[in-house]
Amino acid sequence: MIVDRNRLPEEIRDLPESCFEIVGAEDIRDEAPKTEAIGFFKDAISRLRKNKLSVIAFWLISLVIVSAIIVPYLTGYSYTAQNVALRNLPPKIPGLEKLGIADGTRILTNRPKDSLREFPADSIVEIVREYRINNVEMVDVKVDYYAYAGVPEGEYHWMGTDYLGRDLCTRLFMGARVSLLIAFFAVVANIIIGVIYGACAGYYGGKVDMLLTHFAEILDGLPYLVVTILFMLLLGSGMLSIVLALTVTGWIGTARLVRAQFYRFKGREYVLAARTLGVKDRALIFRHILPNAIGPVITRAMISIPGAIFSESFLAYIGLGIKPPSPSIGILLSDGQRVLLQYPYQTVFPAVLISVLMVSFNLFANGLRDALDPTQRGEI
């Protein structure tokens, strides 16, 4: 609004005198801040909580981990007990079976109608198809496979059994346990080695960096599979040797990242300021550079867990994995793949589990990356 001092509108002209008393301070100091002081990690966690996908992913991962710990005890089956008579049972889940899902039935194809007489009592559910081949009556018959195989009443296998009659649910979560442990140790080892190596290269720079980087580059050039096989041959199979094999070249990526982060951060003005104050190298690395540089490293660690699980699965798949009868997700996938077309469920369950794990870790890692990003501080 524009007003002419000589022709003021009423409401402005008639403002009381008291309004025009000068109250402005001569010495205005900075206000004390009004909100809570939030540390960096608390801030990150609160931002992480707000990211719904990450929260869901976190709970999924926790669910899998908890299951891996307790399910093998809950099933009541051992992961090694073989009973060839009970092999390749389809999944049967109490409750759902009444809905027709996971009811332990299977369709047997191309049976002569006559053979139906020899089926165990009450194992035949229905005849799906009748046809003739060369004047012989043939049927496709749906059977309650549990009755058919002579499984005692009340014995359920939620995920069925494998080719040796071992309960797959127990084996799957035992396998999850093994895979997660291997992945965890491999990643931790990679992070520790990678951080130390990369920090030295990045912080000291110059000749030290050149030497360290060249060595890492040479190591990286070695074919991953050849190295792993050699290690497995040397150390035999077993969890320790797999962890070592995954670590041999796994730390290189982290070292590169840490080195790059150190280069990025060591020239920051607050690091220079600390140097001018006389702060020693160790404190510079651990108090100034590392806390700020660690974000992407944590994210990378999260993402490499599913990668490690996948690597272990791959090794198991090509026969270099854990010694049987110990299961791992990879071994289960490998076993299941052999009978993929006949008994798809033996592949589906481990595949679903590993997919859930990988997607969850990825989502969580993404959420973590955003939460740890210092540029987004104080935004919410």
Binding site: L272, T276, K280, G378
Partner: protein, 321 residues
């Protein structure tokens, strides 16, 4: 032994950056044969445009970079030689630095108290209460208060962050401060806050300051003597009034003529001078060096230029009579 005239003395300091090898070797002479001195309790301003090497010079003095050649003396002691633990301690006890970028110069993971108190911890002040007390004292000196101590840098404005940086530098009671563009990244009205603060603290603590900036008006306002840098060399050193009243080196004149004046009557008709090193100098025969044209007024020039400049100063004196 008598007190040296200069608290900080820089002699033929060079700082080169090289990259590449053999035929492709590239040498950037960021600081090229610079010599000057700063007296106790004096403020020496270093001014120049981007690429002139003033920031590199400041960082070389405080040994964030090592000199390529030349010497730096502090209070008579050489600080440009081999770095020993003793020399490092001497440097950190006597010279502190204030940085340019208010966002980058504070560690986002540390609280204000930790940031300011770090200098004390390095000096062995272990008592937590003592550290707290001195940090709060410093905060109040820079216009903040105790509640700010537990906060994180991102909660503060640019001007406040610079003040925290100043507190951090001063708490260790250095004899000299190198201020590297402390106000360039701030809004105009906030710049005044920080400049006033620096002036007050300068008075109170009797500080010697090396003030590096690209804004000549601010440098002149704040400094006693000024050095003008151009591509790694000091081209003119003089007291503020002399630099402004009798600029001799053609670059200084070009710089002064380019500054936009906040005066609408004169701003538009101001005549701008160009500086072209090829055109304005002829150093094929005579080689230039730092020459004292009149007391306390040095110019980087050849002997014939020096003679010309002396003449200019003489006639300026006569005109003043």
């Amino acid at each position: 032994m008598t007190e040296p005239t200069y608290l900080l003395e820089v002699k033929n300091l060079c700082r080169y950056f090289t990259s590449g090898r053999g035929k492709n070797k590239l040498t950037v002479k960021a600081v090229d044969n610079v010599s000057f001195g700063v007296r106790p309790a004096e403020t020496f301003g270093l001014v120049g445009e981007s690429g002139c090497g003033k920031t590199t010079l400041g960082r070389t003095v405080i040994r964030l970079y090592d000199p390529t050649s030349g010497q730096v003396f502090f209070n008579g002691r050489e600080i440009s030689g081999k770095m020993t633990a003793d020399l490092r301690r001497y440097l950190t006890e006597n010279i502190a630095m204030i940085f340019q970028d208010p966002i980058e110069s504070l560690n986002p993971r540390m609280t204000v108290e930790e940031i300011i108190g770090e200098g004390l911890k390095v000096r062995g002040v272990k008592d937590k209460d003592e550290v707290r007390r001195r940090v709060v004292e410093m905060l109040e000196k820079v216009g903040l208060n105790e509640e700010h101590a537990t906060r994180y840098p991102h909660e503060f404005s640019g001007g406040q962050r610079q003040r925290i940086g100043i507190a951090r530098a001063l708490i260790v009671q250095p004899k000299m401060i190198i201020a590297d563009e402390p106000v360039s990244a701030l809004d105009v009205s906030i710049q005044a806050q920080v400049i006033n603060l620096l002036n007050d603290l300068k008075e109170e603590f009797g500080l010697t300051i090396l003030f590096i900036a690209h804004n000549l008006s601010v440098v002149k306002y704040f400094s006693d003597r000024i050095g003008v840098m151009y591509y790694g060399r000091l081209v003119e050193v003089a007291r503020g009034e002399d630099l402004y009243g009798k600029p001799l080196h053609p670059y200084t004149r070009a710089l002064l003529s380019a500054i936009p004046e906040p005066n609408p009557f004169t701003a538009r008709s101001k005549k701008r001078i160009d500086y072209d090193p090829e055109r304005d100098h002829d150093y094929t025969i005579e080689k230039p060096e730092m020459v004292e044209i009149e007391p306390e007024h040095f110019v980087y020039c050849s002997p014939s230029e020096a003679a010309r400049y002396r003449e200019i100063c003489r006639s300026a004196v006569k005109a003043g009579d």
